[in-house]
């Protein structure tokens, strides 16, 4: 396996630092410099960070926590900007979440996937796939943080309605029998083992999404499995200090396009793998968190990427009130 730094170096060589990354760094610097608001609310990092889909959680998996700084009897809002750069692709994600009474979370996320060489080889140079995600999450039981003498986790159920915007890829998705919109349903359980400083989250997601929806939903060509599948996700974080956490995540992904791709004569060229990351999250103040991760998204349209795993870096900044 290649060393992460190799990918970093390759990424830098391949393209100049994107304006998004610069904007992200500038925003982060500005926010970190702003005086911390003396306020009530949640304890540091206990609202999680923002996932690439907009829900509060880890980076790639929603948790049972309700986003924003709001605790019981309060309303709050959070916003995020995230960027992932892998060997062949880039993803920019941005959005907001609103938390009510530490009970209900509503979120909106936008994703812009730069297909890089994949688009070029498909005859669609410069192709960006853009997706909008409306999310809702309801805490149904438990308390992840203060119930430290109980094993009962905080449990939430959530829904994400996703729509992939029209693009040059529409014809291909049609041919594969993939839809451009879909709905994910999930249940999450989050527990802080306070005495040990360990946070564990398990999520079970019912989904038809290919690569989280960026390659559509389901597939029919060649008798591919077009139904919902239950995919597990796991996050574990260890608190190094009040405002720094490190951990890893694992998110199982559907692989519905592989069979459709084979039927289209692409062999295993459309197969997908599970997503993984290791991360460090830092909250310089109650209202700001910054996350950096090394991600492994597995193969994404490997027919166009020499079967390379999409490993790379992920940076995310969140403000929350």
């Amino acid at each position: 396996m290649n060393h992460p730094m190799n990918h970093l170096t390759e990424t830098r060589r391949r393209q100049a630092p994107s304006t998004t990354l610069l904007a992200l760094a500038a925003t982060a610097a500005l926010l970190a410099a702003a005086p911390a608001q003396a306020d009530t609310g949640k304890l540091l990092l206990t609202g999680g960070v923002s996932t690439v889909e907009g829900a509060a959680g880890g980076g790639i998996s929603p948790w049972a926590v309700i986003g924003s700084q709001a605790t019981e009897g309060e309303k709050g809002v959070s916003a995020y900007l995230s960027r992932a750069e892998t060997r062949d692709h880039g993803l920019t994600a941005a959005g907001v979440a609103v938390g009510f009474n530490d009970r209900l979370e509503l979120s909106f996320g936008h994703q812009d996937f730069d297909t890089g060489i994949t688009g070029t080889l498909l005859g669609l140079p410069g192709l960006h796939l853009k997706q909008d995600i409306l999310g809702a999450k309801l805490r149904v039981a438990g308390d992840a943080v203060l119930e430290s003498d109980s094993l009962m986790p905080q449990i939430a159920v959530g829904v994400q309605a996703k729509r992939l915007r029209s693009s040059g890829l529409d014809g291909t998705l049609d041919a594969l029998g993939a839809q451009r919109d879909g709905v994910d349903l999930y249940v999450s359980a989050t527990k802080l083992f306070l005495a040990q400083g360990v946070v564990v989250n398990g999520t079970l997601r019912a989904t038809k999404a290919n690569q989280n929806g960026l390659l559509g939903f389901g597939a029919r060509l060649g008798g591919a499995d077009n139904g919902y599948q239950l995919m597990p996700e796991l996050s574990v974080a260890y608190l190094l200090s009040k405002n720094v956490a490190v951990g890893f995540e694992y998110r199982a992904m559907t692989n519905k396009l592989q069979r459709a791709g084979a039927a289209a004569g692409l062999g295993d060229g459309l197969r997908a793998d599970d997503w993984k990351d290791i991360f460090i999250a830092w909250a310089p103040s109650k209202n700001v968190s910054l996350t950096a991760a090394y991600v492994d998204l597995g193969r994404i349209v490997p027919a166009t990427t020499g079967n390379r795993k999409q490993t790379g870096v992920y940076l995310s900044a969140q403000i929350a009130f």
Binding site: T71, P232, L239
Partner: protein, 160 residues
């Protein structure tokens, strides 16, 4: 799918049970009826806080910070800080495995005259963290104490 849920549950249990088991063997402690995971003081916790004198010094610092806190200081405006520090010392000393016996009012009674919200409780935790930082208590030890104190939110938080 069933085995996935089982696996997740087992992971959760594995992460917590080893410690809990060791604790319950070391020090059989009364658990509230609701508690399926009784938390006993971690070995050496009382010593890590400097025993009774160290805990008293921590609480003397804590009550001053409490009264000065912009969010919750108002709630302590008529409180005798010396008495509060003594009560807290007895309570934390006992919780941490020390030889003290807390004889003050129970937490529900003690807060009956105040409107304490969840965010007030969180603010109090943050002030305590500042005091523990100032006393140089290691983060891991801080969390071991907070794990003993956190369940008290059930009695302290009385306003939703």
């Amino acid at each position: 799918m069933k085995h996935l849920i089982t696996a997740t549950a087992l992971t959760l249990l594995a992460m917590g049970s080893g410690h809990a088991l060791a604790q319950s063997l070391a020090a059989p402690l009364k658990a509230t009826p609701a508690s399926a995971y009784p938390v006993a003081p971690a070995p050496g916790l009382y010593q890590a806080f400097g025993e009774q004198a160290g805990i008293r010094a921590l609480m003397d610092d804590f009550v001053i910070r409490l009264k000065a806190d912009a969010r919750i200081g108002e709630q302590f405006k008529d409180t005798q800080l010396d008495n509060l520090a003594k009560q807290l010392t007895d309570q934390v000393c006992q919780l941490a495995g020390g030889p003290c016996v807390y004889k003050g009012p129970d937490m529900k009674e003690a807060h009956a005259e105040m409107d304490v919200t969840r965010s007030h409780f969180n603010a109090l935790v943050e002030v305590l963290q500042l005091s523990m930082d100032a006393r140089g208590i290691p983060f891991t030890r801080q969390n071991q104490l907070l794990a003993l104190l956190a369940p008290k939110h059930r009695d302290v938080v009385n306003t939703r």
